[in-house]
Symmetry: D2
């Protein structure tokens, strides 16, 4: 039998990007100066802060970023609910036999909901709870994978056999977005502004995305943080 791999981390890797803070300013300035250099070039941070403050969102769309992402299926499902300004290509469980890689939360992952069901607020579990989780996830992953393999070996099509695989199975996809759609993602998938209560795993992934974004567009990122982490 194939050996299973259990992972407790996700991957968000920048593949390529287009544009920087200056491209956003350039796109915004066409409105007021017809393509020539204007005010924005003198004090880029102030200009970007102005755009963010007054919700002039379209200039932030004149950029692009492609990421390679590895997360559990349950998290990919949340991610792909973002439709506007996001494009996806994902590993297909129909076209290929999937890999036995499964997500198991690590020790730091809070396990108990001390909030309400509508607004989950998670706190650390005790040792027993961690043990219950580990034994149940690991054994279910093992059981499901063994069933999947049996079906594949019996000649059953990938697309049927995969019904057995848990949503904790790791998946991989390419995602292309722009600075505006990325900020909309951060606004909903991080809890930093106190507005959202995202699942732990997608927030962890969002913070990796945020780090790449801050590197590529430092002044835009600063303006985003300054104005309450709301997408313009």
């Amino acid at each position: 039998m194939t050996e299973l791999r259990f992972v407790n981390n996700m991957t968000v890797e920048l593949v390529r990007s287009m544009g920087d803070d200056k491209s956003i300013i350039q796109a915004a300035q066409v409105s007021v100066v017809g393509g020539n250099d204007g005010e924005g070039a003198k004090d880029p941070e102030r200009f970007l802060s102005y755009l963010m403050r007054w919700r002039h969102g379209s200039p932030f769309e004149s950029t692009a970023m492609t990421f390679r992402i590895q997360v559990p299926i349950a998290i990919a499902r949340e991610w792909m609910r973002h439709r506007i300004g996001w494009s996806y290509n994902e590993v297909s469980g129909r076209y290929k036999v999937l890999e036995p890689v499964f997500y198991v939360p690590d020790h730091d992952r809070p396990l108990v909901n001390v909030g309400t069901s509508a607004k989950p607020e998670l706190a650390a579990g005790d040792g027993t709870q961690e043990a219950v989780m580990l034994v149940n996830l690991n054994s279910t992953y093992g059981y499901a994978w063994s069933a999947y393999e049996s079906m594949i070996h019996a000649g059953i099509a990938n697309e049927v056999a995969r019904f057995a695989l848990p949503v904790g199975t790791m998946t991989e996809f390419y995602a292309t977005c722009n600075a505006r759609s990325l900020m909309a993602f951060l606004a909903l998938r991080t809890s930093d502004a106190g507005m959202s209560h995202p699942q732990y795993e997608i927030e962890e992934a969002a913070h990796m995305l945020e780090k790449e974004f801050a590197n590529l567009f430092p002044a835009t990122y600063a303006a985003f943080v300054k104005h309450g982490r709301v997408a313009p």
Copy 2:
């Protein structure tokens, strides 16, 4: 322990709709006659066929339909890749404890891929294959549900426990679309025109959608079929 339910059928139920063939004609005619009655009113079928033939797509967007849909998670994932002109609200595995309802293909479902991996073409399995599928899916669903329940009972949050649940678990969602985005779905998710090789289950659901669509917009539907089942 909770009793599991195994189902082999999906649900696509029309909740409400807006518009009919005439509304599409009315929207299209504003282009040529400025809102008054024109040619289209005299021969609706011919007019709609003309719009379809020459890919005048936007008038078909002046309509709306909301459906309540029950399919396995794996199929919901394919469905929600449709971003344009589709809105979704789905049962949340974070906000509630899910129901133990699982998808098991029935006897008619072809089990063996006799095509290539990139273009799957499914044929009937033999008795052994069907038995292998049944025993593996059913037992994995049972095992996973039991693990899920154990974690829930131990006080572990829904969002963590759900990692154990297979993508064959049934989910439920509301989907709102328009005649154009619905036709784009049919073009990709049915094999009737020989262009697509959709998974059996999503094609079955697509045919239920198609039936409702044909009822609501008979002349539009006839034009869609006549012109090769390509969305305008």
Copy 3:
């Protein structure tokens, strides 16, 4: 020569709609109760306010409204910058000879910018300014229409002759949107929340849209106003 018509008002007419406050609640509740009646049914206003407050936007997309709109071309251009959740069908200056109907602001329309160029703030003009505007707009409309007609009469194609027509020419279009995309429009195209500085004409049209919206979805509308007129 054809007689010109000068108008100082716009039209926003509801053609048809789908859904009400309850449909939004129904779509939202599938997340937590799997399609059955739940909390929301007991206190609809509170539930909708909750959705709005915490930016749960997707349930508001399970609705639809179609409007017939008559505004000057310059305003139609601003309107059609709204891409997400909006569909359009407009009178075509290629397919038909346009009507000689032109927009002339009425006495109430503020004429002078006392703000900055980036954030226009308009105040009333004096009598001279109003006269200058009236004579210049009216005579240009007359001149342009006469040139347009001469070209049409000489057998020149509509699509060429129309280059002469001013952006003050009235146009007509059908627009289909949903409660969420309509609120996004109101957030940007009204100044009520102090965030936007829209052009007078589009704000006037937005207020007509708002009135229809408030009639169709009273509790949703109340929640929108209560939470700062920001689209969820």
Copy 4:
């Protein structure tokens, strides 16, 4: 009085781009090989042709291009009807006083519609028609600009004065798209495949766009042409 400029050409200038044929292949291959190099790398042209042939559209979205575009307002209006995968920032007639640059078709531009109104088919005009067009467009532009300037000089706000300006006035905008949305534009805005009857000017601009696209993505472009110039 300011001197007017009459132009008979448009501008489509590539500002920056992301990705190439290989990026599209890379995104597509994640589906079948989980991110590693696969078949596609060996014969890129055949692989891209396969994607195009079977309408696997999403990999083409993992790219981006920003263009600076100068066209008459009437053509910008047609352009901005493309909502999906297109972002725009345009010169604002509210925030600035516009430039007196106007579009006048050159000698090659066909002037007479010999098709139907719904499917215009343009043929060359005679000398008289060309003269009628030139005198009427030029004089209307002059009249309208003079009215515009008078209003501006009288202190009337930009946003009011601009109602006088014809849709033949040149405008400028930045547009960001991806390979898929660009191909959808070419499919509708060129007549090469016999499916569309676009206006002469937007087809001219589309061909400039096409040239840049063919340079950046030669194998993708070849596949687009080979499979009937239909967007995947």
